[in-house]
């Protein structure tokens, strides 16, 4: 420790005298990430060059920022003194849309992702089924919610139905992947025990796999419900219903007190969901 340099350097000095090599007199923390000195310096220089280039591209209109500070202050005030009453009917409609969208899309997504998740587990199905299901998961996961929402709004018209489809689609990728990974690591001995009784494939899934993955599946579904609610606040920006549309309007009109109220409601519901899902998961296990 550097708080007692005298003692430690004295200790090292006597060791030096014995071995006659030039050990460093002070301890230095060994490099944690890149062991090779040259590579480390190259990486550091590269990072600095990149940072300079990157910061150079950031054009800041300081006059605009200063002008906006007033608005930022108003937003913070709106956050501290939210206005629930003026736009309450809009907020209520948006919230109901968001909540119903989140629940129905989670239920639909879970129902669809269970067969896909089983199909994407290497230890249960033949390779070609595995590949098809993994492809479905990859497609669903690589497209962002908002992009899917743009396409679905163009196809199904504005409103929560497009949002429902978007969130269900996103749920499938998320849940099937995690479910498949969970199924792939189930306890093999239980699988073998059920197989040894002469069980069919369905019985194997029902008695060996299902009891092992159900608690986690319920936990994941609750987590996804939480995510779907949060996402429903976003996809409204492109016209897919929910609280996002209300929020977008409020911000566009510079009604920061209404926006603050909506954001506080979202935070409150997310916190509620987080606590209750933790409680529910404990109860299930």
């Amino acid at each position: 420790m550097s708080s007692s340099p005298g003692n430690s350097s004295a200790g090292y000095a006597s060791a030096d005298a014995v071995t006659n090599t030039d050990y460093p007199t002070q301890w230095r923390r060994p490099p944690t990430l890149v062991k090779d000195t040259k590579l480390r310096y190259a990486l550091i220089i590269g990072a600095i060059v990149y940072l300079i280039l990157a910061i150079g591209t950031v054009e800041v209109n300081w006059a605009r920022v200063v002008e906006g500070l007033d608005r930022g202050w108003r937003f913070i005030k709106g956050f501290l003194q939210p206005d629930f009453t003026t736009r309450w009917s809009d907020i209520k409609t948006g919230m109901i849309e968001s909540l119903t969208m989140a629940l129905t899309s989670t239920v639909a997504g879970v129902l669809i992702s269970i067969p896909i998740g089983i199909g994407a587990a290497r230890n249960l199905v033949p390779p070609f089924v595995y590949r098809i299901c993994r492809a479905i998961i990859a497609v669903s996961r690589s497209l962002q919610e908002i992009i899917i929402a743009i396409l679905f709004v163009a196809m199904f018209g504005f409103g929560p139905f497009a949002g429902f489809l978007t969130l269900s689609f996103a749920t499938i990728g998320f849940l099937s992947k995690l479910l498949a990974e969970d199924i792939e690591v189930v306890d093999k001995s239980q699988l073998e025990a059920i197989k040894a009784t002469g069980a069919s494939w369905w019985q194997l899934v029902n008695y060996a796999v299902q009891p092992q993955v159900t608690p986690r599946l319920i936990g994941l579904s609750l987590y996804r419900l939480d995510i779907n609610f949060r996402e429903s606040a976003v996809i409204g920006i492109v016209g897919a219903g929910g609280i996002g549309a209300t929020l977008n309007t409020a911000i566009d009109r510079y009604e920061f007190d209404s926006a603050g109220a909506i954001l506080l409601l979202i935070i409150f519901i997310v916190m509620l969901a987080e606590y209750s899902s933790g409680y529910a998961r404990k109860w299930v296990q």
């Binding site: 937003f75 992009i147 196809m155 911000i251």
Partner: protein, 272 residues
């Protein structure tokens, strides 16, 4: 074992008692009822004619989108570079702000459990529950459209994610090492520097790279609300219904996401 007891046992083996089964059954019924009710509320204002029309619309849209306008790629290089910068600089800001928040939120390092910890946890929850697109929406209206709004939005959004994972890592640190450092008479700052930091550094690097990957994904669409990057071109193309350009932008976004995921997987593999 008395004979009464054995006669009461059912013939067939059952996993749960009848009371447990009843509770589970009621829960499922409640879920189904709630879902049906929500479905009805949600679809009240749905115009089913539009939904029925969807396959035709999809075919129409597909026909409009299909040959991607490859020549448009030359317009996209600069926005792509901006997108990368938004994600990287945003991640740096996010991580820099998240580290102190994480130390304030972790049970074993927080200065006060009664006051500071709840505040830190509230910062984490608010940052996590508001999507970066909403942060961007707010920041664009506050500091004006442009890359800066995107960077700050990504940074604010990253705080919660990084701080949450990091404070969990801090709480899981090995207590014996910390005690050993404390026993040398180290100050609080030295305990953090020599006892805790080496234990959480790999986690911090891993989390940062992971978040960078997510941020690339999110920064591609921030432009939809005016916060710079390739999303601006997407918004512009959507507004003029230039679907071949939209297709190309989707392809570029998809490629970027795949590449960033690959890079992040490689780097995390190398670190951990």
């Amino acid at each position: 074992m008395s004979t009464d007891n054995t006669s009461a046992t059912p013939k067939e083996w059952q996993h749960r008692t009848s009371k447990q089964r009843l509770i589970i059954w009621v829960c499922w019924l409640a879920l189904v009822a709630l879902t049906v009710y929500c479905w009805q509320v949600m679809t009240e204002s749905t115009i089913w004619a539009f939904v029925a029309d969807a396959p035709r619309q999809a075919a129409d849209l597909g026909a409009r989108m299909m040959p991607p306008k490859w020549s448009y790629i030359n317009v996209l290089w600069v926005p792509l570079w901006h997108t990368l910068n938004i994600a990287t600089l945003g991640t740096l800001i996010g991580v820099a702000l998240a580290v102190p928040v994480a130390f304030l939120a972790a049970r074993n390092t927080t200065p006060s459990r009664a006051i500071v910890r709840p505040i830190a946890l509230f910062i984490i929850v608010s940052s996590r529950s508001i999507n970066s697109l909403i942060w961007a929406l707010l920041l664009v209206s506050i500091i004006g459209p442009g890359i800066l709004a995107g960077i700050v939005a990504i940074g604010l959004r990253s705080i919660g994610f990084v701080a949450k994972l990091l404070y969990e890592a801090i709480e899981e640190t090995d207590i014996t090492q910390i005690e050993a450092i404390t026993a040398t008479g180290a100050s609080r700052a030295q305990v953090v520097n020599y006892g805790i930091l080496p234990q959480i550094l790999p986690a911090l690097y891993g989390i940062s790279v992971f978040r960078w990957d997510i941020n690339i994904r999110e920064s591609t669409i921030l432009g939809l609300v005016g916060a710079g990057g390739i999303g601006l071109q997407l918004q512009a193309s959507l507004n003029v219904l230039a679907w071949p350009q939209v297709t190309l932008i989707f392809i570029v976004i998809l490629a970027t996401v795949v590449v960033s995921e690959w890079v992040s997987a490689k780097v995390r593999h190398a670190i951990i």
